[in-house]
Structures are given as structure tokens and as C-alpha cells.
Amino acid sequence: MDPLLRLWGVSLGYKGRPVLDGVSFVIERGEFAALLGPNGAGKTTLFRGILGLIPVLAGRIEYGFDRRATPPGYVPQKESLDPIFPLTAYEVVLMGAAARVLPLWPVGRRRRHLAAECLARVGLSDAAEEPFWALSGGQKQRVLIARALAVEPPLLLLDEPTAGVDPGAEAAIIDVIMRLNRDEGLTVVIVSHHLRLVREVVRSVIWVEEASATKGTAAEMLSTERLVDAFGTAAGRPL
């Protein structure tokens, strides 16, 4: 047991009103977990709470790493970023690489090299000088994964990384995430509606429903009854 993230009776919500209450679970180092549940159940709230984007109303979240020195890698949905910014793929990744550079200090050669290396890790070296907004949905998502990797994080958190991309791009994204977890031992937590993806690649599932969250293995948590109950009859069919 080597916990990387531990939630103790955590309450999360907005403007003092809890959406989730009494949430407790542990994420082990090297684990690949998915946050799953019906729409509006509180997946995003839990995700944002873990990232520190919303305050914890009660309980506590313990990180098995120094959040200031090594922040988690955050991969938002590509739609949340405005295409008006004139940035190349490399410049987007450089934002992650420059995370630990103090204000007023220039981004040094090592950080620039790290950004290029992270782009290579997601297979996008050739797109480094392409405008970020001109990339395909799948490529944008991989650039954002590269940006998260450039932070050199102990934990990678991804918000619906395969939303709105075609099957080919989806396979490329999943391949990158699986390699990072399997080959590099990076702990991954993913928010997804993609049941086939979750069944195939994720070892554990945090099921968010009725203002609470329960963790178990993928096999336990993705029972036909639970899926039919949450998503309707189509979700319970064998994939």
C-alpha cells in the first residue's frame, strides 16, 4: 500500500452548499482509476476538488507528494481553451514546463528541451510549430497531455480526454495514457463517460452518485445492474 491521494470524509460543493458529502477513498501510486457516474452526480465537483480548484467544505484531502514542488498534471477538456490565443503546440506545452520557473525569470534551455521531449512522448514532435487552434481535436488533447507531463507530475488528472474526438484519435489518446501508466508508472485518474474505455483500460472505478462516491475494482463497479440503473439499457449491453 503506497497511497498517493487520500480523501477523508470530504465534502465538496459550491458557495458553501455541498454537492458531495463524506467521500473517502485512496488512490494508490501507479493506479489507473476512472471517475464515473451519471450526469450531474458530482464527478466534475470531485475532480475539481482533488485538483484544489474548489475548497474542501469538510474532511481533508491528503496528497502523497508535495503539491507546491510537484503539482499534479491537469488535462482539461480542449473546448475549455479559447482558440483566439496565437499559440503553437510547443508554446502550449512550454506553459507546463515553465510552471516551476519563478516570475521574472526566463524559461531556460532545460525547460525548453523538456517541452519538446513531452511533445515527442505524445507523438506530436512534427506538430510543434503548428498553431494550437488549427490542430485536430485528438491532437489538441495530446498537446494538453504533453503540457501536463511537462510539469513532471506524480499524478495525472484528465477531464474527459476522449470527448468529441473520432475513433482513431481516441485510440491514439488512450494509447498515450496507457503507456504513461503502464511503462512509466504514472498514476492516472480520468473522468470519462466512455464505458468501453473504462472497462478495457482502467483498474479501479470511483463511482459518483447520490452525493457520495464509492471506490472498487472496474469489474465490481461496472456491474450490468449499476450501469442500466445509471445510464439506461444500452449501457448494460456487452461491449
Partner: protein, 294 residues
């Protein structure tokens, strides 16, 4: 050609006005790129108006309280305090309302503009003294720029440009992906405040030097033009500033040569450049597209 030579001569009567105009044209777009990127362009019209209302308010207070600051420097200090105060408070209130998600952006900025425009007129109407001087300041009578005023303007706008350059990676991160900035442990609210402070200072000095109309024009038009032709952030800022400075210089040339008002000339020219670059870029794209289809 002789007009150009005259303008470039050291003895040029309007040397201070020319340099001041180019400085405003150079630095306003550097701030304006964040208006464009953060999709707050209409804030660019509301804030200069608010800043102008601040100038009028400061003069009104002086008259009502019977405080008499004598001489040009005293008037200028009052104008700076009023202008900066209104611009900065307005920015902070708008930012706070934005975070609370009250009303739409358009509604907030529209109300701010309407309030600022009405308040400016009311403050001027209520002030029994110094209306002419205040009207000059509100119009941004750049022709009257003195050596001291120019040095102050150069110092302040130079400091703003330096700060924007030095803190560019922080400003870019909080503007592009605020959540990411927070996750990385950056104080997003602090960086927003610093950026707003720089915006407030630039607008205040821009308004006092060139007036609200020119300030708005230079905040918005050169960055929009630069956005059409650049693919990198550093190039975006540099090209926007270059467009602004060149427009200010050429605008000054036309205004002087044909005896036209400088402010409207600058703005009309900036908009003309924007339209020209937009049409030219569209034509180039159309030609490329046709070639690809062949």
C-alpha cells in the same frame, strides 16, 4: 516630404506631442492584446470613459472643497489621481462581478460605459471652475504636452511595457488557462490584479494624453490587426505595438499636413489598417485555396 523632415527635426514645435502620441500608440496595444485575448474588447471603451469621468470628478472635488492646486503640475496630479482611481476601482468591481457571474459581460460593460459617460458630463456641468482646462484634459489635448508631461508619460508607459514583458508568462497562463494556473500553485487573483493595475495605469495616462477615443482605438485596433498576421504570442504583442506606433506617427503626419484633428485621424487610420490587412489576408487565403483546388 518637407513636412516629414520638419516633424523629424529636433526643433519641431510639436515634438512633445509627436513623441507622446507615438508612445501611447506603442504601449496601448501591448495592454490591448489582453483585452482581445480575454474577449473584453468593450471594456476598452468603458474604461477610458471611466478614466475620463475620474478626471472630471477630481476637478469637481477640488472646486467643491475649495482646494486650489495652482499651476499645470497641480492640475495634472489631480487628473492622475482621479483617472487612476476611477479606472482601477472600475476594473476591480467589474472583475469581482465577473467572478460572481452576475449579469452578462455585455450588460456589465454597457452599464459601466453609460454610467461613465453620464457621470463625465454631470461632473463637468456641476463644476463652476476650470471647465476649459478640464475639457482640454478630457479631450486629451496632446498638442499641449509639455516636456515634464512627456517625461512622466515616457517613464510610466516604459515601466508598464517592461512589466508586461517581464511578467508575460504569468499573464499568459492566467489568461489562457486560469484553472491550470491555480493547479500549478500560481496566485491567479494576484496576477489578474497586477495586470488590471497595468491596464488601469496605461488607460489613465492614455486618456490624459490623447483622450478616451484615441486610447480605445489604440487598445483595440492594432491588436486586432496583429492577430490577423501572427501565430506566436511574442510576435502578436510586438506586431500590435509596431502597428500602433506606426499608425500614431502616420496619423500625426496626416493631421499636421492637412490640418485635421489628431485623435480622430489616428483612430480612422488604425481602423483603415485593420480593414486593409483583413481584406489582404482574405485575398491571399482565397488565392491559396484556389491553387490547392486545382
Amino acid at each position: 516630404m518637407s513636412t516629414l523632415a520638419e516633424m523629424l527635426s529636433r526643433d519641431f514645435l510639436l515634438h512633445n506631442a509627436l513623441v507622446g502620441s507615438v508612445l501611447v500608440g506603442l504601449v496601448c496595444p501591448l495592454v490591448g492584446v489582453y483585452f482581445v485575448l480575454r474577449r473584453m474588447i468593450f471594456l476598452g471603451v468603458a474604461l477610458p470613459q471611466l478614466s475620463a469621468a475620474g478626471v472630471a470628478f477630481a476637478f469637481l472635488l477640488k472646486s467643491v472643497a475649495g482646494v486650489h492646486q495652482h499651476g499645470e503640475s497641480g492640475e495634472r496630479v489631480l487628473a492622475i489621481i482621479g483617472s487612476l482611481g476611477f479606472a482601477f476601482v472600475g476594473l476591480l468591481v467589474l472583475a469581482a462581478l465577473e467572478r460572481q457571474g452576475r449579469q452578462t459581460v455585455e450588460a456589465r460593460i454597457g452599464i459601466t460605459y453609460a454610467f461613465a459617460a453620464a457621470a463625465s458630463i454631470l461632473f463637468v456641468a456641476a463644476d463652476p471652475y476650470g471647465e476649459a482646462e478640464m475639457t482640454h484634459l478630457l479631450k486629451g489635448d496632446i498638442v499641449t504636452t509639455t516636456g515634464t508631461g512627456l517625461r512622466l508619460l515616457a517613464g510610466v508607459l516604459g515601466a508598464v511595457a517592461l512589466a508586461l514583458f517581464a511578467l508575460r508568462k504569468e499573464f499568459l497562463l492566467v489568461s489562457f488557462d486560469r484553472d491550470m494556473a491555480v493547479v500549478l500553485g500560481k496566485r491567479a487573483a494576484l496576477w489578474d490584479t497586477v495586470l488590471y493595475l497595468l491596464i488601469g495605469v496605461t488607460i489613465s495616462f492614455g486618456v490624459m494624453t490623447a483622450g478616451p477615443l484615441v486610447t480605445f482605438g489604440f487598445l483595440v485596433a492594432p491588436p486586432l490587426t496583429a492577430r490577423l498576421v501572427t501565430r506566436h504570442m511574442p510576435a502578436f504583442s510586438v506586431v500590435a505595438a509596431a502597428f500602433g506606433a506606426v499608425t500614431a506617427f502616420v496619423g500625426f503626419y496626416f493631421a499636421y499636413r492637412f490640418d485635421l484633428p489628431l485623435g480622430p485621424m489616428d483612430v480612422a487610420l488604425a481602423i483603415f489598417v485593420l480593414i486593409f490587412v483583413g481584406v489582404f489576408r482574405g485575398a491571399v487565403r482565397a488565392v491559396r485555396w484556389r491553387r490547392l483546388q486545382r
